[in-house]
Amino acid sequence: MTSSIRVELLVLRKRMATWILLGVWVILATIFAYIVPYMLNRSGATPQETELIRQLMPDRFAGNVSSGFPFYGGAFAIMLGVLAIGSDYTWGTLKTLFTQGPGRLRIFASKIIAIAITLIPFVLVPFIIGATSSAIVASLEGNAMSWPSIATIGQAILSSWVIMLAWAAFGVALAALTRGTSLAIGVGILYTLALEGLLSALAGSVNLLEPLVKIFVRTNAYSLIEPLGAMNAGSAGDGPGRFTGPFVSTTQALIMLGVYVVVFVGISAVALRRRDVG
């Protein structure tokens, strides 16, 4: 199994698309979590602007960075999941792999583990750049450097990884069901933007939608990082990543995201195991 995981990591590591996704995600995360909020609010003319600048300080960086994962980061995780599995259909490499002998499920498991490992830099790099950015903002504003505890940072990193894993598993399932990449990415983005995004926005005014919205990936993802103070900066503005509730408990959020990972991976495994490979 170890050798299978090692070679699947090679497949992901040597693929340019993986690095492009990581690069674009890190740039977007930095722009929307630090550069844009700082440029818009640096005058501190109103109490709201002052508060938004406060969100960019080192003591709140863990929450601020993690606020980008439920939506923006999720979109990149979906794409990574889709590409990691869907391309094997597109290129026909699945049939080459499946004739090697270890069994379809073992190959699939090694791919899932490789995706989970590949998501680590997708989480760590934004946190490292976020910490650096917050230090720069603090210097520019002449504020003292006060950092969150290691436990808080660890919780933020782990929560963000769980969120990314849930979205990547969603991408894997879409790729396995559609046996390709294009449709899977289209459906994935459409789902996150149109279905979860619009219904979440409507949930405030249509009470009937609230129970449904509470099981959404986005709701549980935002709820998982909400205790970190993540909901004040990155997700409070206008835009597709905006989320103002409803929230569920952290425990429920963690369980739900875990269930999503299991369900999406399970669906994919069944599809890969049972269906003919072209």
Partner: protein, 303 residues
């Protein structure tokens, strides 16, 4: 070794989701240590059969055993090297890295990679990306991948596709050598020369059905009835209705009839009784190429 046969299929059938019958009631046996040619026109069901033998496609009916195990099982795949259709590899990885990926999954020592790259004469291009390879090089990498596990059984689907004449000759030599080493080889092809030069026994498939099987000599010795008659379509239909007739094809105004030689007298009786004008009625010894061409032409006529 499990029994006499490396591969056995019994009434193997594959019906696709759209209802198309890809393989129909196919029963064949490939013996241990032989090079078996699986011959048939394009679209006749060769690749679908091979995919079922590798567990890539599930049969709709019938069953098969490969090296004594269920097709697609870990037990059988560990001892099989295969190349199905166009070789499929990661385009951005080098040939060597692609083999590394397969070796990792198969649990094969990476030192074997250099050996198989040398065997297929790709050692000097092993570090180049797969997407930069010519069709012939891709094909050779596919064969290298098939050899990676040092398999007992090789399943090769049209391995000379895209190769130039020299490359085809080298590939045939390689397959012959592999056969001489005692490996079982199931070689699918629509190229007569390839099959005739390399294979011990041949199975001819058409529209998913095995229409002939035997050694090259046995197939050459098959007698075929040749009929010229008018009206030709009526004659064809009458002949096709006679018991023992397996195959009727119309080629350049002649009716070629394959089947039980004993059916000849009944065919003559039926045609005369129906007042069909009979110009020629003779038995000819068909070559392997004749058999294949007849099948191919009929496919073309049907299309």
């Amino acid at each position: 070794m499990h029994g006499l046969n490396a591969i056995e299929t019994h009434n193997l059938t594959k019906r696709f989701a759209d209802g198309t019958l890809g393989v129909n009631d196919l029963s064949l046996q490939v013996r241990h240590g032989e090079v078996y040619g699986f011959l048939g026109p394009n679209g006749s069901g060769k690749t679908t059969t091979l995919r079922m033998l590798l567990g890539l496609a599930m049969p709709s009916n019938g069953n098969a055993t490969v090296l004594g195990a269920t097709p697609g099982s870990t037990e059988s795949l560990a001892r099989i090297g295969a190349m199905i259709e166009t070789p499929a590899f990661y385009p951005y990885l080098s040939g060597r890295d692609n083999l590394r990926v397969l070796a990792g999954h198969a649990g094969v020592d990476e030192r074997r990679i250099a050996e198989v790259l040398t065997t297929v004469d790709l050692a000097s291009r092993g570090s180049d990306r797969f997407q930069t390879y010519s069709l012939g090089m891709k094909q050779r990498l596919g064969v290298a991948a098939a050899l990676l596990k040092d398999p007992e059984l090789l399943i090769l689907d049209e391995p000379t596709n895209g190769l130039d004449p020299a490359g085809m000759a080298e590939m045939r030599d390689l397959i012959r050598t592999l056969g001489q080493e005692g490996r079982t080889v199931l070689l699918s092809s629509h190229l007569m020369g390839e099959i005739e030069q390399v294979c011990d026994r041949v199975g001819v498939i058409r529209r998913g059905q095995l229409v002939a099987e035997g050694t090259i000599d046995e197939l050459r010795d098959r007698d075929r009835l040749l009929v010229r008659a008018e009206p030709i379509e009526q004659a064809r239909r009458l002949i096709a209705s006679v018991a023992g007739v397996e195959d009727v094809t119309v080629v350049r105004g002649e009716i070629h009839v394959d089947g039980d030689p004993a059916a000849a007298s009944e065919i003559a009786r039926v045609l005369v009784q129906a007042n069909v004008r009979l110009y020629e009625f003779r038995v000819e010894r068909a070559s392997l190429e004749d058999i294949f061409l007849a099948l191919t032409r009929e496919e073309e006529i049907a299309a």
